[in-house]
Each structure stands twice: as structure tokens, then as C-alpha cells.
Subunit: 150 residues, 2 copies
């Protein structure tokens, strides 16, 4: 009779990818969660605003692969702690432009090097050739996410 189908997790790509990504993410997030009491979503919002000041919540959602509810909540929490400011848009009063405050920027500037250091540690385990292929593969497998107007 036919052998019953079975799935070997150790060889199943989606699973291995998922475990790897979660491990790496958590290594980083556990650090800023503890030190600055920021959730992953909150940090993502801060990071994107640190680079692109004045985006709206909608823009942030698109750029971070988060849904708008998650962004709304993260922004509310950050505004509460005065880590970012909301400015109602002149031309469309439904939307607000978001910017890090001085104290938001201060925290941001501490987390960025920390995140980059984690990335460096990860890459250090690889040879130059392996690093090259990793970047290449991430490009090739990049999900079809709409990145509107750069």
C-alpha cells in the first residue's frame, strides 16, 4: 500500500524560515522591550519615523507590513508617552503627520545601533559568499508587497 504522507519539519522550508525569523526577531525585541518598554509594533513605527519624518499612519502601515489597527494602537501608545507627535494634515484633516519628539528621537537613537549590532552578529557567522547569497535570496523571495511611491 502507499506510504502515508508525512511532513518532516526539519526539512520543511516554511517552518525553518519561520523559526529562524522568530528567533532573530525575538533576540532583538527582547532587548528593547525590556530596556525601553516598547512593543515590536511601537519600535517599528519609531524606526520608520526616524527615517521618514512626517509620514501618516497609513504610510507607516504600508511600509511596515502592519495593519492599520496595529499602527493606530502603537501610535496611540507612543503619543501617550510623548515619544511622537501628531499633526493634523492641512490638506486632508482625516490624516495626521507623525514625527518623533525629542525624547522619542533620543530613544530611537539608542535602539538603532543596538539593532544594527544584532544584525552584524548574525552576519558575522557567515562567509562573504554566504552573506551575498542571503541578500540575494531575500531579494528573490521578497513577497509581493505593494511599496507605493518610494
Amino acid at each position: 500500500m502507499p506510504k502515508p504522507p508525512a511532513l518532516d519539519f526539519d526539512a520543511f522550508l516554511p517552518y525553518r524560515l519561520s523559526v529562524l525569523a522568530n528567533t532573530v526577531s525575538q533576540d532583538i525585541s527582547s532587548e528593547y522591550e525590556e530596556r525601553f518598554n516598547l512593543s515590536v509594533t511601537q519600535w517599528r513605527v519609531m524606526a520608520i519615523l526616524g527615517r521618514h519624518a512626517g509620514l501618516t499612519a497609513r504610510d507607516v502601515a504600508m511600509r511596515t507590513a502592519m495593519d492599520k489597527v496595529a499602527v493606530s494602537r502603537a501610535v496611540a501608545g507612543l503619543a501617550e508617552r510623548k515619544l511622537l507627535s501628531r499633526t493634523i494634515s492641512e490638506r486632508d484633516r482625516r490624516e495626521a503627520h507623525l514625527r518623533l519628539t525629542r525624547s522619542g528621537r533620543a530613544i530611537h537613537d539608542q535602539i538603532v545601533p543596538l539593532a544594527l549590532e544584532h544584525e552584524r552578529r548574525l552576519l558575522k557567522r557567515l562567509t562573504a559568499e554566504e552573506r551575498h547569497w542571503l541578500a540575494h535570496l531575500l531579494d528573490r523571495l521578497r513577497p509581493a508587497i505593494a511599496l507605493p511611491e518610494a
Copy 2:
């Protein structure tokens, strides 16, 4: 003055890895969630039992990178639906051996090909050389997860 630090998500490895893994996982899970009303954790438990009948909850937790509470809940839900059975262990009455029931196996056998097909679709986008490097990198980056007694 020094330029302010900033993190470019598009180039930040942990982020890209995370988005990719989540997209891939969700592609698959959305299908069996809808068709069989199974959560990701439930499916993971079923998959591991489909391959290794008789494991205890503890074994399952170790092999699936899930914590014991998640396993306990998944198992409870599956037992409720009679997709798996629990048999108290002879030699240690705290633990129970888990096995798919006939109907659990039937569902399992439908999902496995579906999962493998998704994996195939993903790999089809890559050349043989790229596939090789992907597997290699996943090995090299494999998180230090304890896999006790095979």
C-alpha cells in the same frame, strides 16, 4: 555634526526575514485554517504526530518550537474534536502519549500535500543554485534549539 542614526527596513535583515517568513507561513495557514478550521499550533501538533506517533506533549513542544501551554491548548482542542487521542503513559502517569485518530489522520493526509505544494511553488521561483544556497543558509543560521534524543 554627526548624521542621526537611522534604520532602513528594506535593508535590515531581521525585518526582511520576518516579513518573508510570515508571508510564506500565512499563505499556507490561511488555507488549512479556512478548510479545516485548524490553528497554526493545532496543525503543527498534527503534523508532528503524523510523523511521530505516540510523542508526549513535552516532546511535541520541543520539536515544534512551541511552549508547553500552547501545545496543551492545541492538544485540548484537537482531542475535543476527536482528531487525536491521549493515552496515559504506563511508566509515568503524568504524561500522555498522543496519536492521531482515524479522522485526524484523514485530515492530516489532506493537508500534507497542500503544504508541500506551497513549498514547491516557493522553490520553483529559484534556480537550482539558489535552492542549494537557501538550504545551506538555513542550516548555517539554524538557531540553537535543543533537539533532544532523535
